[in-house]
């Protein structure tokens, strides 16, 4: 580090990198343990819902969780506001 750098010291960025990585890696690992059929199930469910309500691709969130001796498939669908009004 040279003399001038003392006057324009930048914000350290490694901690930001670590935080971002922890989040993305946790997400990747969740998908890693998921069964192979999950993406196609997700597509089918999305198609079924779309027959009735117009929702975006990211309005559906699937989570597979493993508990004591059981697996839970959690499905969250965020409906657009208009859908409820009608």
């Amino acid at each position: 580090m040279s003399f001038m750098d003392y006057f324009r010291r930048k914000q350290p960025t490694a901690s930001v990198a670590k935080e971002r990585l922890q989040i993305i890696v946790a997400h990747q690992r969740q998908q890693r343990n998921a069964p192979d059929w999950l993406p196609s199930l997700q597509a089918d469910v999305l198609a079924a819902i779309r027959k009735y309500v117009a929702v975006d691709d990211n309005a559906i969130d699937f989570q597979m969780e493993q508990g004591d001796g059981c697996e839970v498939l959690e499905l969250n669908v965020t409906l657009p506001e208009k859908a409820l009004a009608g």
Binding site: F3, P12, T13, A14, A17, K18, Q22, Q28, R32
Partner: protein, 270 residues
Amino acid sequence: MSKIVVVTSGKGGVGKTTTSAAFATGLAMKGYKTAVIDFDVGLRNLDLIMGCERRVVYDFVNVINGEATLRQALIKDKRIENLYVLAASQTRDKDALSQEGVKKVLDDLKADGFDFIICDSPAGIEKGAHLAMFYADEALVVTNPEVSSVRDSDRILGLLSSKTHRAANDEPCIKEHLVLTRYAPHRVETGEMLSVEDVQDILAIPLLGVIPESTAVLNASNQGAPVILDNESDAGQAYDDLIERFLGNSVDFRFIDNKKKGFFGRMFGS
């Protein structure tokens, strides 16, 4: 007993081939009969790093297709006894490697009494990378302290635990080792670079070696002499430590702390 070790990373340009060359050379220097195989079909480069590019007559795909014997295709290193290179083919045919073909070559190397077979994986997660890891007993996961490299290494760890021969046959898991390359302790100290501990926290696999960012690596590749042959260099010594740890000896980590600069260095240095 032969051991198959894959050197892999997911991301390109992080030091897989440099690590494969140094690792294989170092093992041979310690007296183990070692072969290093380039799995990057179409983009052969290990031969250049090993300095045997003008001696490639037959390659990996020639052996698989029965156009040459393994003995004809193995290039014996001129500097180190017990060290052999099997070059990748320059064919553009992506399907040139087959699972059965790879298995046959690995089995033949085992039968030939090789102690270590090092598989230098291509970048990515396509067929070449898949086949390089498929029959491995252990894996060196080469990672730079940088977000995209760490993320890709995590993807590779997922594949190592699911898409390999050991995983498919419910055998013990592949033993995974973290190799952190291009490490710059002074940048870690200023908070600009992920530290060894940060990367270990995220990937959660045992650390085998930390190779510092070093001018010796480019000098080595320029000359086609694996960096471990430069035993004066920091990177060469770091690879030597890594191999000692791989062989089960406990060696302290070097080159991970910033050397303090003197007053003049701090005021006027870069």
